[in-house]
Amino acid sequence: MILMKDIYKTYANGVTALNGISVDIKQGEFVYIVGPSGAGKSTFIKLMYREVKPTQGTIIINEIDMSEIKERKVPYLRRDIGVIFQDFKLLPKLSVYENIAFALEVIEESPRNIRKRVMDVLEIVGLKNKARFIPDELSGGEQQRVSIARAIVNHPKIVIADEPTGNLDPDTSWGIMKTFEEINARGTTIIMATHSKEIVNTIKKRVIAIEDGLIVRDQNRGEYGYEI
Protein backbone atom coordinates (compact mmCIF):
# COMPACT_ATOMS: atom_id res chain seq x y z
CA MET A 1 0.00 0.00 0.00
CA ILE A 2 2.74 2.43 1.05
CA LEU A 3 6.23 1.64 -0.10
CA MET A 4 9.22 3.93 0.37
CA LYS A 5 12.75 3.19 -0.80
CA ASP A 6 15.87 5.11 0.17
CA ILE A 7 14.14 8.38 0.78
CA TYR A 8 16.23 11.45 1.38
CA LYS A 9 14.75 14.85 2.08
CA THR A 10 16.75 18.04 2.32
CA TYR A 11 14.71 21.23 2.78
CA ALA A 12 15.45 24.43 0.89
CA ASN A 13 17.30 25.85 3.91
CA GLY A 14 19.76 22.96 3.84
CA VAL A 15 18.33 20.93 6.73
CA THR A 16 18.31 17.23 5.99
CA ALA A 17 15.19 15.83 7.65
CA LEU A 18 15.30 12.31 6.21
CA ASN A 19 18.49 10.44 5.66
CA GLY A 20 17.69 7.32 3.64
CA ILE A 21 14.45 5.78 4.83
CA SER A 22 12.87 2.60 3.49
CA VAL A 23 9.56 1.26 4.72
CA ASP A 24 6.72 -0.97 3.59
CA ILE A 25 3.28 -0.52 5.12
CA LYS A 26 0.56 -2.99 4.14
CA GLN A 27 -3.12 -2.30 3.72
CA GLY A 28 -4.95 -2.45 7.06
CA GLU A 29 -1.87 -1.94 9.22
CA PHE A 30 -1.79 0.35 12.26
CA VAL A 31 1.58 2.00 12.63
CA TYR A 32 2.94 4.38 15.27
CA ILE A 33 5.71 6.74 14.31
CA VAL A 34 7.74 7.77 17.33
CA GLY A 35 10.87 9.78 17.82
CA PRO A 36 12.21 12.91 19.49
CA SER A 37 11.18 16.40 18.49
CA GLY A 38 12.62 17.31 15.11
CA ALA A 39 13.49 13.72 14.23
CA GLY A 40 11.65 13.83 10.90
CA LYS A 41 8.30 12.22 11.77
CA SER A 42 6.18 14.94 10.20
CA THR A 43 8.40 15.09 7.16
CA PHE A 44 8.07 11.34 6.74
CA ILE A 45 4.29 11.63 6.97
CA LYS A 46 4.06 14.61 4.61
CA LEU A 47 5.71 12.57 1.87
CA MET A 48 2.68 10.27 1.75
CA TYR A 49 0.18 12.91 0.70
CA ARG A 50 2.81 14.87 -1.17
CA GLU A 51 2.91 18.00 0.94
CA VAL A 52 6.62 17.40 0.68
CA LYS A 53 8.48 15.84 -2.25
CA PRO A 54 11.55 13.69 -1.59
CA THR A 55 14.94 14.94 -2.70
CA GLN A 56 15.76 11.37 -3.70
CA GLY A 57 14.11 7.95 -3.56
CA THR A 58 10.91 6.23 -4.65
CA ILE A 59 7.49 6.38 -3.05
CA ILE A 60 4.68 4.13 -4.22
CA ILE A 61 1.20 4.67 -2.80
CA ASN A 62 -1.76 2.54 -3.86
CA GLU A 63 0.40 1.14 -6.65
CA ILE A 64 1.07 4.64 -7.98
CA ASP A 65 4.62 5.90 -8.29
CA MET A 66 4.52 9.40 -6.80
CA SER A 67 7.40 10.65 -8.91
CA GLU A 68 5.50 9.86 -12.09
CA ILE A 69 2.02 11.02 -11.10
CA LYS A 70 0.70 14.04 -13.01
CA GLU A 71 0.17 17.19 -10.96
CA ARG A 72 -3.51 17.12 -12.00
CA LYS A 73 -3.96 13.70 -10.43
CA VAL A 74 -2.60 14.58 -7.00
CA PRO A 75 -5.97 15.79 -5.61
CA TYR A 76 -7.55 12.42 -6.42
CA LEU A 77 -4.76 10.64 -4.60
CA ARG A 78 -5.26 12.86 -1.56
CA ARG A 79 -8.93 11.97 -1.39
CA ASP A 80 -7.95 8.43 -0.44
CA ILE A 81 -5.88 9.75 2.45
CA GLY A 82 -7.39 11.46 5.48
CA VAL A 83 -4.81 13.65 7.22
CA ILE A 84 -4.89 15.02 10.76
CA PHE A 85 -2.31 17.78 10.60
CA GLN A 86 -0.07 18.61 13.53
CA ASP A 87 -1.19 22.24 13.26
CA PHE A 88 -4.82 21.27 12.43
CA LYS A 89 -5.00 23.31 9.18
CA LEU A 90 -8.64 24.27 9.57
CA LEU A 91 -10.11 26.84 7.20
CA PRO A 92 -10.42 29.84 9.53
CA LYS A 93 -13.49 31.42 7.94
CA LEU A 94 -15.56 28.25 7.68
CA SER A 95 -17.67 26.85 10.48
CA VAL A 96 -16.88 23.47 12.02
CA TYR A 97 -19.61 21.98 9.88
CA GLU A 98 -18.35 23.61 6.67
CA ASN A 99 -14.78 22.60 7.41
CA ILE A 100 -15.72 18.96 7.63
CA ALA A 101 -18.21 19.12 4.76
CA PHE A 102 -15.47 20.51 2.54
CA ALA A 103 -13.80 17.11 2.31
CA LEU A 104 -17.08 15.71 0.97
CA GLU A 105 -17.93 18.61 -1.35
CA VAL A 106 -14.61 18.01 -3.04
CA ILE A 107 -15.71 14.51 -4.06
CA GLU A 108 -19.08 15.91 -5.20
CA GLU A 109 -21.05 14.01 -2.58
CA SER A 110 -24.78 14.72 -2.48
CA PRO A 111 -25.97 17.33 0.04
CA ARG A 112 -28.02 14.72 1.89
CA ASN A 113 -25.07 12.40 2.35
CA ILE A 114 -22.86 15.31 3.34
CA ARG A 115 -25.25 16.33 6.10
CA LYS A 116 -25.57 12.81 7.43
CA ARG A 117 -21.90 11.96 7.41
CA VAL A 118 -20.79 15.24 8.92
CA MET A 119 -23.28 14.84 11.73
CA ASP A 120 -22.05 11.30 12.29
CA VAL A 121 -18.41 12.29 12.72
CA LEU A 122 -19.32 15.30 14.85
CA GLU A 123 -21.06 12.83 17.12
CA ILE A 124 -17.96 10.67 17.20
CA VAL A 125 -15.63 13.51 18.22
CA GLY A 126 -18.21 15.01 20.57
CA LEU A 127 -18.68 18.37 18.88
CA LYS A 128 -22.26 18.16 17.66
CA ASN A 129 -23.20 21.26 19.64
CA LYS A 130 -20.36 23.31 18.13
CA ALA A 131 -21.17 22.71 14.46
CA ARG A 132 -21.86 26.38 13.71
CA PHE A 133 -18.76 27.79 15.41
CA ILE A 134 -15.68 28.95 13.54
CA PRO A 135 -12.28 27.52 14.57
CA ASP A 136 -11.26 30.68 16.45
CA GLU A 137 -14.19 30.14 18.79
CA LEU A 138 -12.96 26.69 19.77
CA SER A 139 -10.50 25.50 22.39
CA GLY A 140 -7.25 23.88 21.25
CA GLY A 141 -8.54 20.37 21.82
CA GLU A 142 -11.80 21.10 20.04
CA GLN A 143 -9.91 22.31 16.99
CA GLN A 144 -7.87 19.16 17.02
CA ARG A 145 -11.05 17.08 17.08
CA VAL A 146 -12.45 18.98 14.09
CA SER A 147 -9.28 18.09 12.23
CA ILE A 148 -9.79 14.44 13.20
CA ALA A 149 -13.41 14.54 12.06
CA ARG A 150 -12.48 16.00 8.69
CA ALA A 151 -9.83 13.33 8.16
CA ILE A 152 -12.17 10.39 8.69
CA VAL A 153 -15.42 11.78 7.26
CA ASN A 154 -15.03 10.43 3.72
CA HIS A 155 -13.93 6.94 4.78
CA PRO A 156 -10.42 7.18 3.30
CA LYS A 157 -8.29 4.11 2.67
CA ILE A 158 -5.48 5.59 4.75
CA VAL A 159 -5.67 7.82 7.81
CA ILE A 160 -2.51 9.75 8.62
CA ALA A 161 -2.47 11.38 12.03
CA ASP A 162 0.32 13.70 13.18
CA GLU A 163 0.14 13.81 16.99
CA PRO A 164 -3.65 13.69 17.00
CA THR A 165 -3.91 13.70 20.80
CA GLY A 166 -1.36 16.40 21.62
CA ASN A 167 -4.05 18.82 22.77
CA LEU A 168 -6.49 16.31 24.22
CA ASP A 169 -7.08 15.18 27.78
CA PRO A 170 -6.52 11.46 28.45
CA ASP A 171 -10.24 10.54 28.35
CA THR A 172 -10.84 12.20 25.01
CA SER A 173 -7.59 10.69 23.73
CA TRP A 174 -8.74 7.18 24.54
CA GLY A 175 -12.03 7.91 22.80
CA ILE A 176 -10.22 8.96 19.68
CA MET A 177 -7.97 5.90 19.86
CA LYS A 178 -11.04 3.70 20.10
CA THR A 179 -12.38 5.30 16.95
CA PHE A 180 -9.06 4.69 15.18
CA GLU A 181 -9.15 1.04 16.21
CA GLU A 182 -12.68 0.69 14.85
CA ILE A 183 -11.75 2.29 11.56
CA ASN A 184 -8.65 0.14 11.42
CA ALA A 185 -10.74 -2.96 12.04
CA ARG A 186 -12.76 -2.05 8.95
CA GLY A 187 -9.57 -2.23 6.88
CA THR A 188 -8.29 1.32 6.95
CA THR A 189 -4.55 1.76 7.19
CA ILE A 190 -3.62 4.04 10.09
CA ILE A 191 -0.33 5.83 10.47
CA MET A 192 0.03 7.90 13.59
CA ALA A 193 2.93 10.00 14.81
CA THR A 194 2.74 10.38 18.56
CA HIS A 195 4.64 11.33 21.69
CA SER A 196 2.31 9.42 24.01
CA LYS A 197 4.20 6.62 25.69
CA GLU A 198 0.99 5.56 27.43
CA ILE A 199 -0.97 5.07 24.22
CA VAL A 200 1.81 3.24 22.40
CA ASN A 201 2.44 0.94 25.32
CA THR A 202 -1.25 0.24 25.94
CA ILE A 203 -2.61 -0.27 22.44
CA LYS A 204 0.22 -2.32 21.05
CA LYS A 205 0.84 -1.96 17.30
CA ARG A 206 3.73 -1.76 14.90
CA VAL A 207 6.16 0.98 16.00
CA ILE A 208 8.52 2.78 13.67
CA ALA A 209 11.05 4.86 15.59
CA ILE A 210 12.78 7.69 13.76
CA GLU A 211 15.78 9.57 15.02
CA ASP A 212 17.86 12.10 13.09
CA GLY A 213 16.10 11.18 9.87
CA LEU A 214 16.77 7.48 10.13
CA ILE A 215 14.55 4.56 11.10
CA VAL A 216 16.22 3.24 14.23
CA ARG A 217 13.61 0.61 15.03
CA ASP A 218 10.69 -1.04 13.22
CA GLN A 219 8.94 -3.50 15.47
CA ASN A 220 5.54 -5.17 15.56
CA ARG A 221 3.66 -4.75 18.85
CA GLY A 222 6.58 -2.61 20.04
CA GLU A 223 6.97 -0.36 23.03
CA TYR A 224 7.44 3.42 23.00
CA GLY A 225 11.07 4.47 22.73
CA TYR A 226 13.66 5.30 20.11
CA GLU A 227 16.88 4.15 21.70
CA ILE A 228 18.33 1.46 19.50
Partner: protein, 301 residues
Protein backbone atom coordinates in the same frame (compact mmCIF):
# COMPACT_ATOMS: atom_id res chain seq x y z
CA UNK B 1 -14.34 12.35 -13.38
CA UNK B 2 -12.25 15.43 -14.01
CA UNK B 3 -14.35 16.77 -16.84
CA UNK B 4 -18.06 17.05 -16.13
CA UNK B 5 -18.93 19.06 -13.07
CA UNK B 6 -22.12 18.02 -11.36
CA UNK B 7 -24.83 20.67 -11.28
CA UNK B 8 -24.92 20.65 -7.49
CA UNK B 9 -21.23 21.42 -7.48
CA UNK B 10 -21.84 24.44 -9.66
CA UNK B 11 -24.49 25.74 -7.27
CA UNK B 12 -22.07 25.01 -4.44
CA UNK B 13 -19.44 27.20 -6.12
CA UNK B 14 -21.98 29.96 -6.65
CA UNK B 15 -23.00 29.80 -3.01
CA UNK B 16 -19.40 29.76 -1.80
CA UNK B 17 -18.47 32.68 -4.03
CA UNK B 18 -21.29 34.77 -2.57
CA UNK B 19 -20.52 33.70 0.97
CA UNK B 20 -16.86 34.59 0.54
CA UNK B 21 -17.87 38.16 -0.23
CA UNK B 22 -19.36 38.31 3.27
CA UNK B 23 -16.78 36.15 5.00
CA UNK B 24 -13.92 38.31 3.90
CA UNK B 25 -15.50 41.41 5.41
CA UNK B 26 -12.90 44.15 5.41
CA UNK B 27 -11.00 42.66 2.53
CA UNK B 28 -14.13 42.78 0.40
CA UNK B 29 -14.79 46.37 1.39
CA UNK B 30 -11.24 47.33 0.53
CA UNK B 31 -11.39 45.58 -2.85
CA UNK B 32 -14.76 47.04 -3.73
CA UNK B 33 -13.45 50.44 -2.65
CA UNK B 34 -10.53 50.15 -5.03
CA UNK B 35 -12.78 49.04 -7.89
CA UNK B 36 -15.22 51.87 -7.17
CA UNK B 37 -12.57 54.56 -7.07
CA UNK B 38 -10.76 53.51 -10.19
CA UNK B 39 -13.97 53.03 -12.17
CA UNK B 40 -15.21 56.50 -11.17
CA UNK B 41 -11.94 57.84 -12.49
CA UNK B 42 -12.26 55.92 -15.75
CA UNK B 43 -15.90 56.92 -16.12
CA UNK B 44 -15.21 60.59 -15.52
CA UNK B 45 -12.46 60.68 -18.09
CA UNK B 46 -14.35 58.59 -20.61
CA UNK B 47 -17.26 61.03 -20.33
CA UNK B 48 -14.93 64.02 -20.58
CA UNK B 49 -12.91 62.76 -23.53
CA UNK B 50 -15.91 61.49 -25.49
CA UNK B 51 -17.69 64.81 -25.02
CA UNK B 52 -14.63 66.82 -25.95
CA UNK B 53 -14.32 64.68 -29.04
CA UNK B 54 -17.92 65.47 -29.83
CA UNK B 55 -17.24 69.17 -29.37
CA UNK B 56 -14.24 68.96 -31.64
CA UNK B 57 -16.53 67.36 -34.23
CA UNK B 58 -19.00 70.21 -33.77
CA UNK B 59 -16.30 72.77 -34.41
CA UNK B 60 -15.09 70.91 -37.46
CA UNK B 61 -18.65 70.75 -38.75
CA UNK B 62 -18.80 74.55 -38.59
CA UNK B 63 -16.09 74.77 -41.23
CA UNK B 64 -17.53 76.06 -44.50
CA UNK B 65 -16.21 76.81 -47.96
CA UNK B 66 -16.87 80.30 -49.25
CA UNK B 67 -17.14 80.26 -53.05
CA UNK B 68 -16.63 83.79 -54.45
CA UNK B 69 -18.48 84.18 -57.73
CA UNK B 70 -17.07 86.09 -60.71
CA UNK B 71 -18.41 89.66 -60.76
CA UNK B 72 -19.22 89.09 -64.43
CA UNK B 73 -21.47 86.06 -63.89
CA UNK B 74 -25.18 86.50 -64.63
CA UNK B 75 -28.02 85.00 -62.62
CA UNK B 76 -28.31 81.90 -64.73
CA UNK B 77 -24.63 81.16 -64.48
CA UNK B 78 -24.83 81.62 -60.74
CA UNK B 79 -27.70 79.11 -60.48
CA UNK B 80 -25.78 76.64 -62.70
CA UNK B 81 -22.77 76.97 -60.50
CA UNK B 82 -24.94 76.24 -57.45
CA UNK B 83 -26.32 73.12 -59.15
CA UNK B 84 -22.87 71.96 -60.15
CA UNK B 85 -21.66 72.30 -56.60
CA UNK B 86 -24.65 70.37 -55.27
CA UNK B 87 -23.85 67.63 -57.77
CA UNK B 88 -20.44 67.02 -56.17
CA UNK B 89 -20.15 64.01 -53.89
CA UNK B 90 -20.08 64.58 -50.15
CA UNK B 91 -21.87 67.92 -50.15
CA UNK B 92 -24.04 68.68 -47.17
CA UNK B 93 -25.52 72.17 -47.78
CA UNK B 94 -25.07 74.95 -50.33
CA UNK B 95 -26.25 78.43 -49.33
CA UNK B 96 -26.32 81.49 -51.62
CA UNK B 97 -25.22 84.80 -50.10
CA UNK B 98 -25.43 88.02 -52.12
CA UNK B 99 -22.64 90.55 -52.04
CA UNK B 100 -24.75 92.78 -49.80
CA UNK B 101 -25.23 89.94 -47.33
CA UNK B 102 -21.52 89.40 -47.45
CA UNK B 103 -20.77 93.03 -46.58
CA UNK B 104 -23.23 92.99 -43.70
CA UNK B 105 -21.66 89.79 -42.43
CA UNK B 106 -18.19 91.21 -42.75
CA UNK B 107 -19.06 94.42 -40.91
CA UNK B 108 -20.75 92.46 -38.15
CA UNK B 109 -17.89 90.08 -37.75
CA UNK B 110 -15.45 92.95 -37.37
CA UNK B 111 -17.34 94.47 -34.47
CA UNK B 112 -16.72 98.14 -33.65
CA UNK B 113 -13.84 98.44 -36.02
CA UNK B 114 -16.12 97.46 -38.87
CA UNK B 115 -18.18 100.60 -38.57
CA UNK B 116 -15.56 102.54 -40.50
CA UNK B 117 -16.43 100.47 -43.52
CA UNK B 118 -20.10 101.25 -43.58
CA UNK B 119 -19.40 104.26 -45.77
CA UNK B 120 -18.64 101.88 -48.55
CA UNK B 121 -22.03 100.23 -48.61
CA UNK B 122 -22.90 101.98 -51.87
CA UNK B 123 -19.70 100.91 -53.47
CA UNK B 124 -19.54 97.31 -52.29
CA UNK B 125 -16.33 95.75 -53.62
CA UNK B 126 -17.31 92.22 -52.59
CA UNK B 127 -18.64 89.38 -54.73
CA UNK B 128 -21.71 87.20 -54.49
CA UNK B 129 -20.84 83.91 -52.80
CA UNK B 130 -21.94 80.37 -52.05
CA UNK B 131 -21.40 78.96 -48.56
CA UNK B 132 -20.77 75.22 -48.93
CA UNK B 133 -20.56 72.62 -46.17
CA UNK B 134 -19.13 69.16 -46.62
CA UNK B 135 -20.86 66.17 -45.11
CA UNK B 136 -17.52 65.11 -43.72
CA UNK B 137 -15.38 68.09 -42.74
CA UNK B 138 -12.26 66.18 -43.67
CA UNK B 139 -13.42 66.39 -47.33
CA UNK B 140 -13.33 70.18 -47.22
CA UNK B 141 -10.05 70.53 -49.02
CA UNK B 142 -10.95 68.12 -51.84
CA UNK B 143 -14.32 69.79 -52.44
CA UNK B 144 -12.74 73.25 -52.41
CA UNK B 145 -10.30 72.16 -55.11
CA UNK B 146 -13.11 70.71 -57.24
CA UNK B 147 -15.13 73.90 -57.00
CA UNK B 148 -12.13 76.04 -57.86
CA UNK B 149 -12.00 74.29 -61.24
CA UNK B 150 -15.58 75.29 -62.11
CA UNK B 151 -16.66 78.15 -64.38
CA UNK B 152 -17.52 81.54 -62.93
CA UNK B 153 -15.63 80.88 -59.71
CA UNK B 154 -13.49 83.86 -58.81
CA UNK B 155 -11.94 82.24 -55.77
CA UNK B 156 -12.58 79.59 -53.15
CA UNK B 157 -11.92 80.40 -49.57
CA UNK B 158 -12.11 78.08 -46.60
CA UNK B 159 -9.48 79.55 -44.32
CA UNK B 160 -7.00 76.89 -45.30
CA UNK B 161 -4.52 77.70 -42.58
CA UNK B 162 -7.22 77.80 -39.96
CA UNK B 163 -8.84 74.55 -41.08
CA UNK B 164 -5.58 72.69 -41.40
CA UNK B 165 -4.50 73.97 -38.02
CA UNK B 166 -7.84 73.05 -36.51
CA UNK B 167 -7.80 69.53 -37.86
CA UNK B 168 -4.22 69.08 -36.80
CA UNK B 169 -4.96 70.43 -33.33
CA UNK B 170 -8.03 68.24 -32.95
CA UNK B 171 -6.02 65.24 -34.08
CA UNK B 172 -3.48 65.92 -31.38
CA UNK B 173 -6.20 66.40 -28.82
CA UNK B 174 -7.89 63.15 -29.86
CA UNK B 175 -4.60 61.26 -29.66
CA UNK B 176 -3.92 62.66 -26.21
CA UNK B 177 -7.46 61.86 -25.12
CA UNK B 178 -7.18 58.30 -26.40
CA UNK B 179 -3.81 57.93 -24.71
CA UNK B 180 -5.28 59.16 -21.43
CA UNK B 181 -8.19 56.73 -21.66
CA UNK B 182 -5.98 53.78 -22.53
CA UNK B 183 -3.57 54.76 -19.79
CA UNK B 184 -6.40 55.03 -17.30
CA UNK B 185 -7.92 51.70 -18.26
CA UNK B 186 -4.56 50.00 -17.83
CA UNK B 187 -4.08 51.79 -14.54
CA UNK B 188 -7.51 50.57 -13.47
CA UNK B 189 -6.67 47.03 -14.51
CA UNK B 190 -3.44 47.16 -12.60
CA UNK B 191 -4.82 48.77 -9.45
CA UNK B 192 -7.89 46.56 -9.22
CA UNK B 193 -6.12 43.30 -9.89
CA UNK B 194 -3.30 44.40 -7.60
CA UNK B 195 -5.74 44.96 -4.75
CA UNK B 196 -7.50 41.68 -5.39
CA UNK B 197 -4.15 39.96 -5.56
CA UNK B 198 -3.20 41.19 -2.10
CA UNK B 199 -6.47 40.01 -0.61
CA UNK B 200 -5.98 36.61 -2.20
CA UNK B 201 -2.36 36.48 -1.09
CA UNK B 202 -3.64 36.92 2.43
CA UNK B 203 -5.66 33.77 1.79
CA UNK B 204 -2.86 31.71 0.29
CA UNK B 205 -2.74 29.50 3.38
CA UNK B 206 -6.42 28.68 2.98
CA UNK B 207 -5.89 27.79 -0.66
CA UNK B 208 -3.04 25.50 0.36
CA UNK B 209 -5.25 23.76 2.92
CA UNK B 210 -7.97 23.20 0.35
CA UNK B 211 -5.47 21.53 -1.94
CA UNK B 212 -4.18 19.31 0.85
CA UNK B 213 -7.72 18.16 1.57
CA UNK B 214 -8.12 16.97 -2.02
CA UNK B 215 -9.60 19.92 -3.92
CA UNK B 216 -8.69 20.20 -7.59
CA UNK B 217 -7.51 23.50 -8.98
CA UNK B 218 -10.82 23.96 -10.77
CA UNK B 219 -12.76 23.34 -7.58
CA UNK B 220 -10.80 26.05 -5.81
CA UNK B 221 -10.87 28.46 -8.71
CA UNK B 222 -14.62 28.54 -9.29
CA UNK B 223 -15.66 30.38 -6.11
CA UNK B 224 -12.91 32.90 -6.80
CA UNK B 225 -14.31 33.39 -10.27
CA UNK B 226 -17.76 34.12 -8.81
CA UNK B 227 -16.26 36.29 -6.11
CA UNK B 228 -14.27 38.33 -8.63
CA UNK B 229 -17.39 38.85 -10.71
CA UNK B 230 -19.32 40.01 -7.66
CA UNK B 231 -16.49 42.35 -6.65
CA UNK B 232 -16.69 43.86 -10.13
CA UNK B 233 -20.46 44.25 -9.95
CA UNK B 234 -20.43 45.70 -6.44
CA UNK B 235 -17.60 48.02 -7.36
CA UNK B 236 -19.50 49.27 -10.42
CA UNK B 237 -22.65 50.25 -8.54
CA UNK B 238 -21.48 53.61 -7.22
CA UNK B 239 -19.67 54.61 -10.44
CA UNK B 240 -22.80 53.78 -12.45
CA UNK B 241 -24.91 55.75 -9.99
CA UNK B 242 -22.47 58.63 -10.33
CA UNK B 243 -22.64 58.47 -14.12
CA UNK B 244 -26.43 58.35 -14.29
CA UNK B 245 -26.90 61.05 -11.65
CA UNK B 246 -23.92 63.26 -12.41
CA UNK B 247 -24.39 63.28 -16.15
CA UNK B 248 -28.07 64.07 -15.71
CA UNK B 249 -27.08 67.06 -13.62
CA UNK B 250 -24.49 68.18 -16.15
CA UNK B 251 -26.81 67.89 -19.13
CA UNK B 252 -29.39 70.02 -17.35
CA UNK B 253 -27.04 72.59 -15.86
CA UNK B 254 -24.59 73.55 -18.56
CA UNK B 255 -26.75 76.53 -19.66
CA UNK B 256 -24.02 78.87 -18.44
CA UNK B 257 -21.92 77.86 -21.40
CA UNK B 258 -24.66 78.55 -23.93
CA UNK B 259 -22.67 81.27 -25.66
CA UNK B 260 -20.28 78.60 -26.91
CA UNK B 261 -22.40 77.02 -29.57
CA UNK B 262 -20.12 74.02 -29.96
CA UNK B 263 -20.42 73.10 -26.28
CA UNK B 264 -23.21 70.57 -26.49
CA UNK B 265 -23.01 67.39 -24.43
CA UNK B 266 -23.77 63.99 -25.88
CA UNK B 267 -27.44 63.19 -25.24
CA UNK B 268 -28.19 61.54 -21.87
CA UNK B 269 -29.94 58.69 -23.56
CA UNK B 270 -28.18 56.57 -24.82
CA UNK B 271 -24.77 57.99 -23.82
CA UNK B 272 -25.09 57.67 -20.02
CA UNK B 273 -26.45 54.14 -20.41
CA UNK B 274 -23.76 53.06 -22.81
CA UNK B 275 -21.09 54.45 -20.51
CA UNK B 276 -22.63 52.60 -17.55
CA UNK B 277 -22.53 49.37 -19.48
CA UNK B 278 -18.90 49.89 -20.40
CA UNK B 279 -18.01 50.57 -16.77
CA UNK B 280 -19.88 47.47 -15.61
CA UNK B 281 -18.12 45.39 -18.23
CA UNK B 282 -14.71 46.73 -17.26
CA UNK B 283 -15.43 46.11 -13.57
CA UNK B 284 -16.64 42.56 -14.04
CA UNK B 285 -13.90 41.57 -16.46
CA UNK B 286 -11.10 42.96 -14.34
CA UNK B 287 -12.66 41.48 -11.21
CA UNK B 288 -12.77 38.00 -12.69
CA UNK B 289 -9.41 38.31 -14.33
CA UNK B 290 -7.76 39.67 -11.19
CA UNK B 291 -9.23 36.92 -9.02
CA UNK B 292 -8.50 34.02 -11.29
CA UNK B 293 -5.00 35.24 -12.14
CA UNK B 294 -4.08 35.82 -8.51
CA UNK B 295 -5.37 32.49 -7.29
CA UNK B 296 -3.37 30.71 -9.94
CA UNK B 297 0.00 31.11 -8.35
CA UNK B 298 -1.15 29.64 -5.04
CA UNK B 299 -2.51 26.50 -6.64
CA UNK B 300 0.86 24.83 -6.89
CA UNK B 301 0.79 22.96 -3.57
Amino acid sequence: MNTAMKFRTLTRHLREGCKNIIRNGWMTIASVGAVTTTLILVAAFLALVLNLNQMANNIENDVEIKVLIDQTADEEQITDLGDNIKALSGIDTVQFSSKDDELVGLIESMGEEGEAWQLYEQDNPLSHAYAVKAQNPADTERIAKDILGMDNVQDVNYGRDYVEGLFQFNDYARTIGLAIIIGLVFTAIFLISNTIKITIMARSREIGIQKLVGATNGFIRWPFFIEGMLLGILGSLIPIGAILGGYYYLVNNLGVLDNYSFVTLLPYNPFAWQLSLIILAIGVLIGIWGSVMSVRKFLKV
